[in-house]
Symmetry: C2
Subunit: 197 residues, 2 copies
DNA sequence: TTCACTTCTTATCATAGGTCAATGCACATC
DNA sequence: GATGTGCATTGACCTATGATAAGAAGTGAA
């Protein structure tokens, strides 16, 4: 299977050489999902990290009233999973499904150990990626604590211009923590501002 | 210096034996801060992780209007830092100061490497802690996206009963993303509910 | 074509939570 | 005892955003 993005990830971010990549190549497991298909459903135990080779995934929770709260989108080169569920073998509270037809690489403890054996630097590189992820989550929390819907939307557009174009607006509203109607209003107000200036 | 909590952390969470602990003991650096003193100021580069031996710290950002958004409290056994600033050597956007007089252990790359050398398991244990931290952040985002001030407050009380008793109410309001006035109202409504039932 | 379905928008009304100002309390300092 | 400072509460008012309902535009299937 041809996985240019995943190969690039292991080589550039994971620090593997081309030869080292081919050493672990045979262990790679992939999974295809079509639009609206699930990779993880609430209540089941999450067994893998999913690396997105191509496509778009979403990671979301359902609150008491059944409303979806989108916690994360994942496009090419992102890794998504319910880490708590993996590490503590607990049923997940989250769902992962596909917004576009998507090809993922399934990573588990076994594969990660195999890669780390081939190149011990891999684990450390991965830790840096984790730290960076935490940093992004803090930034998001900071915006949710203190910024208006308008500011959060502008930040989203600036940070993820690519995602903007690939997911419906009501999902972006969910990611931002507002209703689709409010987001529509925010956008209207912004276009009016643009005309004035 | 007597550091029972840090010792326990390295042995229980880090997987070190007692002897291994004494091997790295001499490398430990500590820092004391009094109430309202800073460990990290916006604009400076964060050089360490801070393990709280005893006391309470807060980690916060200032938004455009100068309002504080508290991202994290840290009591005994927590580790706090601006990970982005450490790893990318960039000036931080965050502040860390002490809510009580606090004794911290300063961890840097050098110390972590030393511990990992003594016990290779340490890095892996730490990664699990990181994954767990990410999980908590997702939970917090989920609440910020979908839950009312009341629900967020009740969740906080349940999750951090100890912190409740040690930090002023206006800081909890900031952590929850509401004004002190609103939190006061939420609390009043809750006591009324209690009387009725 | 027509129908069903989804997404986005618009309008109206309702409300949680923000803003501002005043008060009361606990504590410290003089 | 008098005074000042920080925090929590309360009240009156305001605003951003939610809720509900309806319509417009696009898309795909029958």
């Amino acid at each position: 299977m041809n996985l240019p993005n995943f190969k690039k990830y292991l080589i550039e971010k994971g620090g593997l050489s081309e030869e080292e990549y081919y050493q672990v190549n045979s262990l790679i497991q992939t999974k295809k999902v079509q639009q609206n298909e699930f990779l993880l459903k609430e209540g089941s135990i999450c067994s893998h990290f999913f690396f997105v080779e191509h496509g778009v995934l979403r990671f979301y929770a359902l609150n008491d009233q059944g409303k979806e709260n989108i916690l994360q989108f994942a496009t090419e080169n992102w890794i998504l999973s319910d880490r708590g569920s993996i590490f503590y073998k607990e049923p997940s509270n989250y769902n992962i499904d596909a917004i576009e037809d998507t090809l993922t690489v399934m990573l588990d403890e076994h594969f990660i150990n195999a890669v780390a054996k081939v190149n011990p630097n891999f684990r450390k590189q991965n830790e840096i990626l984790l730290q960076n992820h935490i940093r992004h989550l803090y930034r998001r929390i900071s915006l949710l604590l203190g910024a208006s819907a308008k500011v959060r939307y502008l930040d989203f557009v600036k940070t993820y211009p690519d995602i903007m174009l690939r997911v419906p607006q009501w999902m972006i509203a969910s990611y931002l923590g507002v209703t689709p109607e409010s987001l529509s209003r925010v956008r209207k107000a912004l276009t009016n501002e643009d005309f004035k200036s």
